[in-house]
Symmetry: D2
Subunit: 284 residues, 4 copies
């Protein structure tokens, strides 16, 4: 579907993470190796935190690989926490409002995967979104619906539970419509201080998700690798597909689990979908 990258650490110019390593995210827009599609050329987006209250978001419908503006901006924007996403559209239009990351207040949200048979379940899912959030949904993607379901279920207060309940609704509505394996995906969301990265699918065969090992250990392993020198000791990258060409640099997030990355201790936790407490109305 898509490829994404999340960075957390000392501020760096975005280009250091997006362009510099071999097999970078921008390379993956043309030549992904682990993605469902080799080409992720249907637009892209970046979201970054700085001194202002809400994160900045830049989204474009051009392929990332040749985009002059993305190259400029990622050389000039410096951030200690940012998201980047390249898109392979499946059915919905190539337009900015369909590009990740999505934003709500201080929160960003991005996704690689899908809600199965979206046309069948979309109306029911939209009905389950808090009415006050309904008109914030600007595009057509499954991801934006999922994000607003999670917001409905309290993403801002207890993110893991809210994502669990949102996927629970997707699975509940899907199964009532006879859809096998309603959800697939890796998800990243953040409030700018801590990031949650999920790997889950109804079929328990989820797209890959990786995070970096300790940067200090990596530097010992690869003393000549320039990209590692630009990263702070506590820097972490979470990616749908490894960037760089450094065996041993990446841990795979296990199936049905999520990681929390932030100021304090990082954690890796099993992820379980929460069934809706009360049935969600279907086909009203």
């Amino acid at each position: 579907m898509c490829r994404w990258l999340a960075y957390f650490g000392a501020p760096i110019p975005l280009e250091a993470a997006l362009y510099s390593p071999a097999h970078s995210l921008i390379d993956q827009s043309l030549h992904s190796q682990l993605g469902a599609e080799a080409t992720n050329g249907d637009g892209f987006g970046i979201g970054w935190y700085d001194h202002t209250p809400t994160p900045g978001v830049f989204r474009s419908i051009e392929p990332a690989w040749n985009d002059a503006n993305l190259r400029e901006l990622s050389a000039h924007i410096t951030s200690g926490h940012f998201f980047a996403h390249i898109r392979a559209a499946i059915g919905s239009a190539v337009q900015q409002t369909n590009c990740h990351p999505f934003r709500h207040g201080r929160w960003l949200f991005m996704h690689n995967g899908y809600i199965a048979e979206l046309a069948t379940v979309k109306r029911d899912l939209m009905m389950a979104v808090d009415p006050s959030l309904y008109c914030d949904i600007a595009g057509q993607t499954d991801t934006e619906v999922l994000f607003h379901l999670a917001l409905t279920f309290g993403l801002e207060d207890h993110p893991a539970e809210a994502v669990s309940r949102a996927i629970g609704v997707v699975e509940d509505v899907g199964s009532r419509h006879g859809i096998r394996d309603p959800f697939q995906g890796t998800i990243a969301t953040t409030d700018g201080e801590r990031m949650w990265a999920f790997r889950y699918s109804s079929a328990r065969k989820t797209r890959t998700l990786f995070f970096t090992r300790d940067v200090r250990a990596l530097r010992k392993l690869y003393p000549d690798e320039e990209v590692l020198r630009r990263l702070s000791d506590d820097a972490r990258l979470v990616v749908s597909e490894p960037v760089g060409n450094l065996p041993g640099a990446w841990h795979e997030v296990p199936e049905s689990s999520y990681g929390v990355v932030g100021m304090g201790e990082d954690r890796l936790v099993p992820f379980k979908v929460q069934e809706p407490g009360h049935a969600v109305a279907v086909g009203v």
Copy 2:
């Protein structure tokens, strides 16, 4: 908001209607005189009928005035019935899925105006759309919602009644939310054989709508006018703002009425909004 033009007559290259006259629709994209906004530069669209079962649609997010592709296509596409629309966005994104005309099967639909306070009423209106049509709504505009409400109420079988009922729902939902004057606009819709053009607003102060007088009479009035020589005897233009500079060429469609233009006799009929037979659910 926007400006639009509809043509019905012997096949002509689109450019004859879009570019040739003084103060043409394309000129109006830069310098509208009667529009709510002088500039209509937030994208455009054309829809045309030819030998294929469904009309063609070309939509772009560029301003029309300098668009090289629109100039090419309108010189090479010949049609006996087409719609053209230039957009001034009010709130929603500049993206192709927000550009008029909208299409469903053989039907086209375009609009100059608005549903007041869309964010307040959109969810209720979307709920009133037939669930089987819900996922056909690709963009964010009030017009596309209105179109699908009209389809829900039988646009394909009895167009005037369906539009009347659709606006009835808009006014009903709006008034329940305490919105004064929920609807404003001129609308054109067609199945390729007959076209319906509506002028109506809740406040009875609707944007202008004009149609051409008999072309033969016009030719006598303006024997030197080249654009008239390119039109067939039975050609009709319906526009939100007169094109050309020909006093006496245009009739104004009266407030709260609609015209039918097509193969047979044209008609001009009073338009009354139909209140919903049963209350539409609000704020479910």
Copy 3:
């Protein structure tokens, strides 16, 4: 670099040639097998002949594979002779003025390949273009320069000789700058009645070029193939990479030769580059 297709035959909707066959040109925009690059997503263009004096041209900077407008237009535009081109940019910007085919009067021109080290030789080549044509060059591509060199040398009167002389200048200027193998490519050009397709490179290792065998013979070979039924008996396709999955359907144009396809007899002729009669000024 790029992929291209040229059609000559009874009028068909463009989509019949662009989308219908397996491994169609539009598929090749995502997954080329023979191209220098697998992805040709840096814009596209079509040029077609109809009843108007000059061919129509539609060019876009979006990837072809998901472009809604290209799909619409190729379903509604019918032509007996058209060019289509998908681009993989090498160095120059992704903008409409860099998209093929290029047009001059009734002539179209497109190319898969390159002028080596364009930055080194461009000024000299531009100086060799007829001054009256200088300002017609709107974009940055090597192809557009080559086209205007060919026009300078009489493309409209004796196309094969003009292309030969144009490439001759490219090789002459290149070799003076110490460039090894200055030219590479397959070229198609047409005046709407006859088409010339060239395969040539300074190193004599030119990108592939194919043309269809006799359609009647193909129909016997593949009686169930729908795409063949839509083609007229005299239809010919010339492509940089075979479309469809029909072994035996394609002839390869031999190295250093060109074909002429048109109303009369088709011909396949050896191609020789003509050295400039007088030296072209270098580094003035």
Copy 4:
């Protein structure tokens, strides 16, 4: 033609200068009062200096007024010196390579005006550009040619003289081609530390150019004006058309003069075009 703004002072988010004041530059993209055209909707660009060696440039072909990315970026990019430009195209394509500001190393350059009859003189002017700079010219505009002429004549060492000589060549070539009044315009150029702003036209009837009075004096005049509180004491704006609605805030740059704004003393100096020492070749 166009409208532009240059800021020099303590770092501010770009939005403080671009969006905040009444009749801001972004408003002028829709409703210019002093421009040759009321609408400047054919793309825009910003260039800004930060901690990196070369200024950042972001350019887009969308109209500025509704551009979501420009709004985002100007809220998140903070700079002590930046250029912004909104374009009304006259003849050349709407593409990023035609958008101002143009950049060379640490230098930015933008322009409101034109070289008269560019098609007639362009080839001669391009020949006068240093061959090593020839291929840096990526777009079609007169401004980019002028910039590279100025670079040819030593812009980086003695800017005012170089601009004077560049315009001298334009006037010389123009007059040899019988063009009356070959040059028109206001120009801004900067190396990031000092900025030069020129007002000159061959006919001595140049488009307007304004700069702010002392901010401290302005604050006394308008104690309640929020935009003034965001500016540092030494902040200066130079604009083609006043922003804000503050009588007394603006000085007009006199006809045929230029200002220098920077770290040290500002200066306002008469501007004289320098005739080419040796004749520039025409029509070679």
